[in-house]
Symmetry: C2
Subunit: 462 residues, 2 copies
């Protein structure tokens, strides 16, 4: 497939500019202030799919943000690839830490990306990786090399739990019928060493509220005499881990899939340098569950992290107040076999039970999803590996990721097909952080690799 290389070379400036236009729209699904921008982004995605060569594209209304569906059916007897991606992005704050505005994309060179990287919120997660598939389709249509049917399902609520997607998938199983699901919303080890994510962690995300007195109080007149909701919340959060950083919620580990020493030895082979890891994060030391190394702590082990906390006076200067309420957003990363709804129940039950007299506690589940493992002996995995091997010159390494794409488990349940996670981002791309970026190399390499997946998948399916 030499043509794809030359096609990419010939059109790369346009590919980059089209992506930059898409990145300019602040489609932050978590913040209602951006709702019109999220809608506008779905329109832009629809148009891009039509231009790329889909025969049919529609914007499907849902209880939440719309889902863009597109398809090109060349022969019902041929296999069908369903491409999933999302056009919404994470909130950009803290804004002040961005070296350039999050929604004014610029290309800058970095040590890891000497050919330059596009800096913008969503560059890698997931507008950039999603758009690789749109451009790959364009190539296959233009060069008349599309070997099978293709369907696109691009949603706008991935960063807030994909609620409407589940609703949509449950109601459109026939329309979404496919032989394999292809997603680029993960990373790879390095630009020299491709990898395919074979495992994902599940997620349970909750928000807690601790209420003490019915109003903010003067800390001098009441300090020491009433429960301070912030002190109490801190105490409750602290108690969720023991001294070995095991999570203390009763039953939390009951269904955790323990890996064999062999499997852990296999994992240990993935290139990893602890010193570089600490250096990259300016950490004097790592931290985590006793008995596991860093690569295990962030992939095969469940975790509990506070993602946000707030209460009392947080402005300039000093205010001697005892707040009436304190809040925290808490998420738990789960491993295969842990059921997120059950874990959410266990958390809620436990958190309510440890509330001391003098406060009332509310737990509001936000969203969640199951963990997932992809079999490496599937046709889809093999086809992806062959594609990477051809474009990168080395085979891909299977890795377990700590991240969550809850809908992968949903797809298997509702659509009865396997998902292949062909990620082209890097850990250093700062997704969910200030200065998110996506390498030009990675973007173009993705466009180059995807058509090969189609080719090999169809060949192996025969």
């Amino acid at each position: 497939m030499e043509n794809i290389k030359s096609y990419v070379q010939q059109h790369k400036d346009r590919f980059i500019n089209e992506l930059i236009e898409l990145l300019k729209i602040p489609s932050v699904s978590a913040d209602a202030a951006y709702s019109q921008d999220v809608i506008n982004t779905s329109e832009a995605v629809k148009i891009s799919l039509e231009k790329a060569g889909c025969d049919f594209v529609e914007i499907c209304d849902t209880p939440g943000y719309p889902i863009v569906y597109g398809e090109k059916i060349i022969d019902p007897s041929l296999p069908t690839v369903l491409v999933y991606g999302h056009y919404d992005v994470q909130p950009a704050d803290p804004m002040e830490l961005w070296t350039s505005p999050p929604f004014e994309p610029v290309i800058k060179k970095t040590d890891i990306h000497p050919e330059g990287a596009i800096f913008a919120r969503g560059a890698c997660d997931d507008k950039g990786q999603m758009y690789m598939h749109v451009k790959a389709l364009e190539y296959m249509v233009q060069s008349n090399t599309l070997p099978c049917n293709v369907k696109f399902m691009i949603e706008g609520e991935e960063e807030v739990g994909s609620k409407s997607l589940s609703w949509f998938v449950e109601r459109n199983q026939e329309k979404l019928k496919n032989d394999v699901i292809l997603i680029s919303d993960t990373g790879m080890i390095s630009n020299q060493q491709p990898s395919i994510t074979t495992g994902l962690r599940g997620l349970s995300y909750v928000e807690v509220e601790v209420t003490g007195p019915n109003r903010d109080l003067h800390s001098g007149l009441y300090g020491g005499a009433v429960a301070n909701p912030i002190n109490v919340l801190a105490k409750m959060i602290a108690s969720l881990h023991d001294e070995d950083n095991h999570i203390t919620i009763p039953g939390f580990y009951d269904n955790v899939q323990e890996l064999s020493l062999e499997e852990r030895a296999e994992m240990a082979k993935a290139p990893f340098n602890l010193e570089n890891y600490k250096k990259a994060l300016d950490l004097n030391d790592v931290y985590g569950e006793k008995g596991y190394v860093t690569n295990e702590r962030n992939s095969i082990r469940p975790t509990l992290d506070v993602n946000g906390i707030w209460g009392g006076y947080t402005g300039e200067g000093a205010k001697t107040v005892i707040a009436s309420k304190a809040f925290a957003k808490i998420s738990m990363r789960l491993v295969p076999n842990q059921d997120w709804e059950q874990i959410t129940e266990l958390f809620t039950k436990h958190f309510m039970s440890i509330a001391p007299a003098g406060v009332t506690v509310k737990v509001k589940p936000h969203h969640g999803g199951q963990g997932y493992v992809t079999p490496i002996d599937s046709i889809g995995y093999k086809a992806a590996n062959m594609a990477y091997t051809e474009t990168f010159g080395v085979p891909a390494i299977p890795v377990r990721s700590g991240g969550s794409i809850p809908i992968v488990a949903l797809f298997e349940k509702e659509l009865k097909s396997k998902t292949i996670l062909m990620g082209f981002g890097l850990d250093s791309d700062a997704i969910h952080s200030p200065n998110e970026h996506f390498g030009i190399f990675n973007y173009l390499k993705g466009i180059e690799t995807i058509p090969l997946f189609y080719k090999y998948f169809v060949e192996l399916s025969k």
Copy 2:
């Protein structure tokens, strides 16, 4: 002194309207956004003192907000009363909890204030109580009954630690020379039972910062593998109290003045109803240091409260992030004999020492002040008690307050004179909270009582 009663009756509408005008200026010293308003308030106070009859008034520049100084010297051989008050106010947030805008004063009737109360930030703390002294002077000048010399020192940084006041007092000891210092910045038990605050708690106020990774991280990819600054901060805060709610900072209690059982029995006589206390705050239970009752926990015992906490994503919806930093504002209320600077050192040393590997910790002292006890056998205390007894019909009860007026200790050190705390506010006036208010009854009763203090203080000084 029947005249004062009738004078107040005759002029009360004007007294109320003048205070309302003063309350309209948002003099929030903690927030630089209001700096011009703070300055404007000092101008308004200057004019009010001139109108009330001071012979000399000046706005004194300081490293921070100006101090308004005024005086009326009728005879150097007579005693001199120094009136202290502050024209700055606490921040008004959370704004949404105010039933009327904090800087648009309105008079509303309440169960406790059937004659109405002025609702506005600063109504009680301290503009209303400070202005009682201005109007009391007006009466004494108009009625030619001022029995001694009077000096006013009204500052604009009380809510942020009175830094400039210390600077000013140290440099103006001759100018501020006095025989007694009179302050109305505290409360009394009820409108039927006046009380005089004889003890105050000291204060140490710090801000802490916990830094983990050098940037916000994706909680899926890094969760479990790096120290989460919010989880760590929660753990550190939780460890500052033991199971009995004793503070765990080594040396914290070393200089705490333990009261005798007799003294505690005396305190227990002050009217207090735990059920009403809980009901007023919608609490199912109180909370605090083991071995002490509510009235002791908030007065004779030192405390540690988090006044504000923030970190990570606190916006709408969910963001799966591990924050780079987490922050908290922490204040400790101290009792007589605890030195606030030493306690600040002990806190800092201890807090740094409990930081786990994987994070770095900063502690920034905000401000502080010493505790204080007023002897009830002093002329000043006796004069105040006689004044209350005459206007309320019952003697005042001496009480220890949990609040802090750090400068009271400073005054004794620098000016070698005792302070009398003639408070007319009520605990229910919600100072430092939304819907702060000050009873019309209390305001007018204060104006009526103050001249009597002057009368008896001069008589007892002979």
